[in-house]
Structures are given as structure tokens and as C-alpha cells.
Symmetry: C2
Subunit: 304 residues, 2 copies
């Protein structure tokens, strides 16, 4: 099994504060550390820890952060042959302030200063042996191109839809699975009412669509009229950074195992919850045996 | 002329945002860069650009930020022979979010992980040739020790009082000039009424005391009953980071020139305002000829 991911990778600075400050004040951080991040890159890190071979296509700059991003992905065992380093460019970087008490995170981020990945930079066989393609839609041309290639090759595609950007709705229609943030859903008219949002999903012609709602769990619009509500597992949350990304990784793993949709989502939810027990997008990502144990301890045997 | 500074030095990451975000959201930065910072270090950078020889005593870690801090001070021509590098320690670092429209800054910062400067790490002749000592009071023992040494040697001392910490009031009493932030003043009962605050200054036994009030200027309690109100110069503010530090540098320069207190404060105010026209604590610090021109253009000839 192999998953190909095309999208963002970042270097995150994480600072824990006793509460998020008012503007124009000074706030001393209690903890301060750095870690790899970025939606697709972190989702692949989750898949890799679950035992799935992963290839990543994206860009970094030629700065310290770019080297750290590459190293962090290699450490997870992800194939980064397709990670392009732009000369004289800075990498995507984020500063993330984490509330000590709630674990909620506020993200300041900057895009890489270099050009995004070009279609002609993808090798001709970029989908070789791929069982799934994961996209975040932030690099419009290469996302549309690769989604079409995957469809033509019969490879399913999952989209992490953070916000509606240029080309995002067209891209979403090309994908078999759309996982949208609450912000993405709100832009489409989400008002906390799954029944009425069902029409939006149909109107836009999306495939199986999931809206992730943080501590309130997720809502999935399956084929037909089925709506799957999955609560979040309560955990001692240290940091929610990357929880959505890890959800995508866990969800994709469940789908690769050909499990029922409901089980795949519950597995994803467990992976995301477990991630929140540690600081940063990646430190808390569980291995397969740990997810199984987590689910068994909660009476959910033989889930995956 | 020479000034000795003992206190904080930091490495600042600066991000300009269209407005300071709500907690638990994502905010893309419009500009993102790094620069040297820290109260005493930046005040010395100001003095150095005005032509005064400066020596700095403080600590960094042995990390990338520590090397960058040292390099930035050397580039300003500051003597960093007394800057101690702690092994296996991180340096003081800050992430500063700057509001694009108002230039106000919100600071997330972390202390260096290593031990603060010890008294026995100051060379015996640390005050050699010094005409002034500048402290920020964040390293309690070494601050009290060096203030007493300076007094004994007849060298005037200025304190940058950010907040009331352990030993800060005792230290302030040892200093000839106290320059306090509005937060420091508020902790002493400041209620925007110079007349009544005069009693607080007397009660605590402080010398000449200035409260800096950002865009509202400054209030100085001179000897006797004199109170000097100095408005801030209106400028096109890009970033207020370090404005107070540059004020201290300009003020100290004026005092070194033996100018009347009122002129020294106005000069300091000009330096601080000019700094705000560029991003970061140091990029906008003016040279002496630039301050003179700035003042002349505003009809303040022969100020310094």
C-alpha cells in the first residue's frame, strides 16, 4: 500500500501560554519548541506511523526551516524525493500560540516565498503504485492536474479543504472524499444543521463529505441519505495543532483497509484525539498498536 | 565616552498581520523577518549609532539565535566580550505580531534556558572608563551588584523598569534615573495623573523618574517639583517594537551630552519616534545626523 500526498509542509514554532494575550501586551511563553507541520505533510506522518508507505510532493525554501522540514519527513520514513527545494526562498513557517488550559491554538503563518510546485515538476510516474492521493488544494494547478490524473487511473482522491480558494470547488468535485474544516463548511452555508447542509453537498456535486468540528466531533455525508455523526474522544488535550491533519491520515488508513465508513471515521477520530495529548502537530501521532489499544480500552474492539 | 549595559538580549521574529487575531484562528502574516532585540541590547544599539562606545554584559544560549544575537550586536559595533554563551541552552527569543494599521505589537517571548549572568562572571573592571551604566533589572543579583559598584565609583545609573519584580524597587532606589513602562507605573498606582503620582515617586525614594506612555509621550518627575510632559512626535508608525528601548538610548545620550533634562527627553522622544517608521526593534534606529535633521525639520534647532 502506498499513499501520495501533494501539498503543504511547514516548520512550526510552538509556544504554550497561560492564555492567549490581548493585543499590544507582552506574554511570556511557558514552553517553546519547534516541530514539523503542514496539513498534507502531517497527514502523511500519521499514515507512515500507521505503517503505510508515503510519498510527498511539495516545496521548501533553501533555508534552515526547509532543511528541518525535509529532515522531519525523512525521520518519519516518508519518501521526499519529490520535495523540491527552491533557491533563495524561505519555507512555510508558523508560530503557534497554545492555550495552556484549553489546548486551543492560534496560528500565525507565512507562505513559502518561492513558486509553488509546478505541474512539470511532478515526475510522469508520480502516481506509480499509489492506492490513494491526498491533496490540500493550496497549489491550485498541480492539485487539479494530479486529481484528474488520479481519477483517470482509478486512484481515489481525498481533499483536505481548509477554506474556499480559487479552484477549490472544482477540485472538490474531482475528489472521492472531501474533508472540510468548519470554516470551509461555513463558507458553504453550514449552520450546525446536518440535515440542511446535505443539500449543499449535493448541489456542489461533492462525493463523500466530512466536516470536522474539533472537540464536537465530525459529520459525514455518505452516499444516499446516510449522515454519520461521530463524537470526539475526550482526552487530556495539550494542543489541538494538527488534529485535523491526523484525522485525515487516520481516515485514509481506514479506507485503505476497506473498512466500513463509520469504522474508518471512528479510527480517524481516535488518531486525532491521541495527537492532542502532546504538544505540536506530530509528537502525539500514535502508532497502529497504540490506536488499537486506545480503542480497546474504550470498548471498541476489532475496529481496525 | 562609554556606556556599559547589563541585561537582556533577544532574537526577535516579526510578523506583520492585518489585525491581531482572535484566539483559535489562523492568520496569514504579510511580512515575516528576524532581527536582534532585547531592552538593554537595543538601547545600546541606539547609543552606538549615535556615536557612543558601548559594552554589553549578558547571556545567550549556544543555539542559532544566540549566534545571531551576538552577530547583530557586533555589527552595531558594540563590545560583546562580556556576552556569555551558556552551553546546551537556548537564547531569549520572541515572536512579535505587528498590527499593519496601528503598528502596535503583541509579544510572545521566552526566557533563555540557561542560568542568568552571575556576579562572578563580571570582570573586576567591568565599569572601566564607563560614563553611565544601563540596567533592566531582569537579572536581580548582577543588577543590584553592578548598581552598587557604579554608585561607589560615582558613575550614574539608568534603570529600564518594565515591571515590578523581586528586587526591582530596591534596585530603582539605587539608580539616578528610572524610566518605567506604563505597566510598571500602574503597579505603583499610576492613574494618568502626574500630580498625584509625584508622591509615589517620592515615597519610594526614586531619583529622576520617567514614565513612557507610547504614543501619548512621557512624563518625567525631575528634582524638586518639576514635572516635564513631553508629547510623542507623530510619525508614520510601522512598528512600535523597541520604541521604549530606543528612548532609553536617546535619553542616555542626551544626559551624556550634559544637556538640560527637557532637551534630553525631547531628543529621546525623537529617536523613539524615528525607530517606529521601520519594522523591528533596530532597523529604524537613527544616526545622530538623522535625529538632528528630524528635529530641525520640526523647528527644534540646537536641541543636541
Amino acid at each position: 500500500m502506498a499513499v501520495v500526498g501533494i501539498g503543504q509542509c511547514a516548520w512550526d514554532m510552538l509556544a504554550v501560554v497561560d492564555h492567549f494575550p490581548q493585543a499590544d501586551t507582552k506574554k511570556e511563553a511557558l514552553v517553546w519548541e519547534e516541530q514539523g507541520g503542514g496539513p498534507v505533510a502531517t497527514a502523511l506522518a500519521a499514515l507512515s506511523r500507521l505503517g503505510v508507505a508515503c510519498r510527498f510532493y511539495g516545496v521548501t525554501g533553501d533555508d534552515r526551516e526547509g532543511a528541518a522540514i525535509r529532515h522531519s519527513l525523512m525521520e518519519e520514513g516518508i519518501d521526499v524525493t519529490g520535495l523540491v527545494q527552491r533557491p533563495s526562498a524561505s519555507s512555510q513557517t508558523a508560530f503557534i500560540a497554545i492555550d495552556k488550559f484549553t489546548g486551543t491554538r492560534t496560528i500565525f503563518w507565512k507562505r513559502p516565498s518561492g513558486e509553488t510546485l509546478r505541474t512539470d515538476e511532478l515526475p510522469l510516474d508520480f502516481l506509480h503504485n499509489a492506492d490513494f492521493l491526498l491533496l490540500d488544494g493550496l497549489m491550485q494547478d498541480v492539485s487539479l492536474f494530479s486529481a484528474r490524473k488520479a481519477r483517470a487511473a482509478g486512484i481515489p482522491v481525498m481533499l483536505d479543504a481548509g477554506r474556499i480558494r480559487e479552484g477549490m470547488l472544482e477540485l472538490a468535485r474531482l475528489c472521492d472524499y472531501v474533508v472540510g474544516s468548519e470554516e470551509f463548511a461555513a463558507e458553504l452555508g453550514w449552520k450546525d444543521d446536518p440535515g440542511s447542509f446535505r443539500q449543499e453537498v449535493r448541489k456542489h456535486g461533492f462525493g463523500i463529505t466530512t466536516i470536522t468540528l474539533g472537540s464536537r466531533g465530525s459529520v459525514t455525508f455518505a452516499d444516499g441519505d446516510e449522515i454519520i455523526l461521530c463524537p470526539a474522544f475526550p482526552v487530556e488535550t495539550v494542543d489541538t495543532t494538527g488534529a485535523g491533519d491526523v484525522f485525515h491520515g487516520g481516515y485514509l488508513y481506514g479506507l485503505l483497509q476497506k473498512r466500513p465508513l463509520r469504522d474508518a471515521i471512528r479510527f480517524a477520530s481516535a488518531c486525532a484525539a491521541m495527537k492532542c495529548r502532546k504538544l505540536g502537530g506530530r509528537a502525539g501521532i500514535p502508532r497502529l498498536s497504540e490506536v488499537r489499544q486506545f480503542l480497546q480500552e474504550r470498548g471498541i474492539a476489532d475496529c481496525l
